[in-house]
Amino acid sequence: MPLRLEARPQYSRPMLYATPVLAVVLTIITGAILFSAIGYNGPGAMYEIFFKPILDSYRWQDLGVKAAPLIIIAIGLAAGFRANVWNIGAEGQYVFGALAGTGVALATYEMTGWWILPLMCIVGAIGGAAYAVIPAFLRTRLGVNEILTSLMLTYAAIQLLFYLMNGPWKDPEGFGFPQSRTFTDYQILPTVIDGTVVHLGVPLAFLIAIAAWIVLSRTLFGYQISVVGLAPAAARHGGFDANRTVWHCFLISGALAGLAGIFEASGAFNQMVPQFPTNYGFTAIIVAFLGRLHPIGIILAGLILAVSYVGGEGAQTSMGLPAAGAWIVQAMMLFYLLAVDILVRYRIKFKSQIAGGAA
């Protein structure tokens, strides 16, 4: 083997920032080759997916709207991943939170008042957190692996959505379509820029990320999350309760996923429909990793993933590339990030360079 890996004494900071960029570049190259291989215009598709949405200023509003839920969910997941809490069921908490908020909307259907929308958001966040209580309880009390439980609950949440849409919550004036009533003006997130689709959830997503940055980097709470994840025994030695940290992480990530859910239902869909689950909860996992579990990185990663969503839709209409094309690109980004991650901890050396044995 001509190459070998040599452990760095300390993590490389430049590599920490360079590797996500490298991952995106490698994805673009591989994607072009892969799509060409299965009969599409590969370079064209990559242009559509990665560059068109950025160059076309009319699509920027879509980027913001798509990025907002990804960023909000990914912030919560990142806190958990830092602490080795693998909440993979954000999609379920996203749906459940949106349903809880929709419940408020349907109950206040005939009411008016400024308080309705905040109440929907609060109940949405509580709903997401409540759904995350189940895996948190099972892990801390019984030691059940949270990956499987949180994921299974996603499937259950989606069935609950179908049930509500087909039955109790079906719009009585909806010609039998399985969907809820349309929200009223008091229940819809206002747009912040006139003439665009950019709703209040978009600036809030950025604010949440900045708040999370401060909490994670400057407070004892953020310190505790990192210690529990990096060295559980040291956390115990330092007097941090691992189980309590697991609870905190689940409640935070569940609440944020629920909040993202009700933002999306209220701000983007303006009602609840069976097509509501769009895998944001899963894509946010990619966002969290691509953003290096760092809130500012997550903002950038959320925007990149939003680009791939918007670009994927563009490629669908302009060149007939199936929606799955964008998923593959997203998965490849994560693959490449995980692959090039090794450069942060190791450097690549040619064997002959060290064979002499100098210190």
Binding site: A7, T219, H237
Partner: protein
């Protein structure tokens, strides 16, 4: 077998790791039937060297000759095929498997279960060793585990047996038994390469010694002729500063008391604690001796507050019961601790030294207020630890994982000692630390005691405990012996306590 050529001859063996030259042109020879010591302190490069002989690592340069022929041991299998057997310092055993399965994994020829068992029993008989082939490893004592490794090596009928620090985990009586086995082997013509830093053992057992320091051979000698002092000087390279035990007056009041403490086993392979009682007076150092795996980890955790005791009165500090407090609360009240494992327990490897001060010094040194961390204060405190304890690091921003074991240990000890705790509980304070750093740590502990703190030192190194402690007790299978005054107790007596009060065979107590 050629009698002229050496069984094993190394010439110019060199091996570098990032940042350190572990072996630098090492050359020596081992003759047939010879018990050859490889002597050196921690970090001298002994383990790296034998791993290359056994094919686990590959040398960067140099030559290994076996019976006069140049060989390249690509992997341990090739080494075993030559006739090289090895007993590792950290055993290469599989806890959840049986003794027989463990032995089968060490064999290169597949035998039927029955045939293998017969051969194992044969070897056990020949060397008078006791071991049940069907027991699961996690139920065995450390001495029994070592026997598995030895049997595994002997079944290959080795012509060179490498023993890496074999006695660090054994009671004095078990050591005697091991030496008998090794002498019997040598008489049968097997060469033995015996790695240790314990001088009296080498004098008792070995025919020749090669001394390694900083990765280089610094001398060969006949240990039967040399004095322990002359070998120690070759090993350490400088005159060792001996620790200063200040003369102390009458014992102060009881500062730390443990009464009938019990704690469950830490995981399926741990040991539960029962009826642990002792008291430590102001200005005293209380030592807890014992062979590894007898409940030391559980004891450190129970004393430090990583787990709460069964009742609040089980542990008390200056008369105040603290048994129900966790580490954070105990620290605030004056009890600090240092666990055995540095990386990942005493410190977070990926964090900087400054960030690592927040882990245990935040309450006593005021590093956090209203939830926010004071990075300035933590950096300042880390700098002070680095300076006062002579920690070799690039600064307080260096990651804990970038420090050598000894320097990280100095940092962790310094972090706790500079908090001026009323009670300090430490486990294995000098494990894997070079002699100079060990002496500095011992001195710091003695100085802290002299200021009126009460100290508890848990260690497997009996010499260390005898050097710094006022009183000693022995932990065995989760029970603590009566308290013994240092200076009024013999090594033999402690050894018997380490092996179970009456030296009863382990099998009886494990039968549950």
């Amino acid at each position: 077998m050629s009698e002229q050529a050496a069984r094993l001859e190394l010439s110019g063996i060199t091996k570098a790791f990032p940042g350190v030259l572990a072996n630098d042109h090492v050359s020596f020879a081992v003759q047939p039937g010879e018990i050859h010591a490889l002597l050196g302190e921690n970090g001298a490069g002994k383990s790296t060297l034998v791993k290359m002989i056994y094919g686990v690592l590959k040398p960067d340069a140099g030559e290994i000759r076996w019976d006069g022929q140049t060989v390249h041991t690509e992997n341990p299998k090739a080494a075993r095929a030559l006739g090289i057997g090895m007993v590792f310092q950290h055993f290469s055993l599989f806890e959840a498997m049986t003794v027989l399965e463990n032995i089968a994994l060490g064999m290169d020829t597949a035998l039927t279960r029955q045939a293998l068992e017969n051969r194992v029993r044969e070897v056990l008989d020949t060397y008078g060793l006791i071991l049940d082939p069907h027991r699961h490893v996690h139920t065995l004592s450390v001495g029994e585990r070592q026997r598995i490794e030895i049997v595994r090596a002997l079944l290959q009928e080795p012509r060179l047996l490498i023993m890496d620090e074999p006695t660090s985990v054994l009671t004095p009586q078990e050591v005697d038994k091991l030496f008998e086995t090794l002498r019997q082997l040598a008489q049968e013509g097997c060469s033995i390469l015996y790695i240790s830093h314990k001088l009296h053992e080498i004098q008792a057992l070995c025919d020749t010694a090669t001394i390694l320091r900083g990765g280089k051979v610094v001398g060969d000698c006949d240990p039967k002729v040399e004095t322990a002092k002359s070998m120690a000087e070759m090993m350490i390279g400088a005159n060792l500063k001996s620790v200063e035990k200040k003369e102390r007056g009458a014992a102060g009041p009881v500062r730390f008391a443990v009464k009938d403490l019990a704690a469950p086993a830490d995981g399926p392979f741990g040991t539960a604690l029962q009826h642990i009682s002792f008291e430590v007076h102001a200005g005293e150092i209380f030592g807890i001796a014992g062979v590894a795996g007898n409940g030391q980890n559980e004891l450190l955790e129970a004393l430090a507050g990583e787990v709460t005791a069964g009742g609040t009165n089980m542990v008390s500090l200056d008369g105040e019961p603290i048994g129900n407090d966790l580490t954070g609360a105990r620290r605030a009240k004056g009890l600090c601790s240092v666990p055995e494992e540095r990386n990942g327990h005493g410190a977070v490897p990926d964090f900087s030294l400054a960030a690592n001060t927040v882990l245990t010094a935040r309450q006593r040194m005021g590093l956090v207020s209203s939830g926010f961390i004071h990075f300035g204060a933590s950096t300042e405190f880390a700098d002070k630890v680095i300076q006062d304890f002579n920690v070799k690091a690039t600064g307080s921003e260096a990651a804990a994982s970038s420090l050598s074991g000894g320097n990280l240990q100095k940092f962790i000890m310094g972090r706790e000692i500079l908090q001026k705790p009323d009670v300090l509980v430490v486990s294995q304070p000098t494990w894997g630390v070079d002699a100079g750093a060990a002496a500095a740590i011992h001195q710091a502990l003695l100085d802290l005691a002299a200021e009126g703190s009460a100290l508890v030192v848990i260690s497997q190194d009996l010499d260390e405990l005898l050097a710094i402690c006022d009183e000693i007790a022995v932990i065995n299978e989760g029970h603590l012996s009566r308290t013994l005054r240092v200076g009024e107790v013999s090594i033999d007596e402690i050894g018997l306590l380490m092996g179970g009060i009456h030296g009863a065979p382990k099998e009886v107590s494990h039968a549950a």
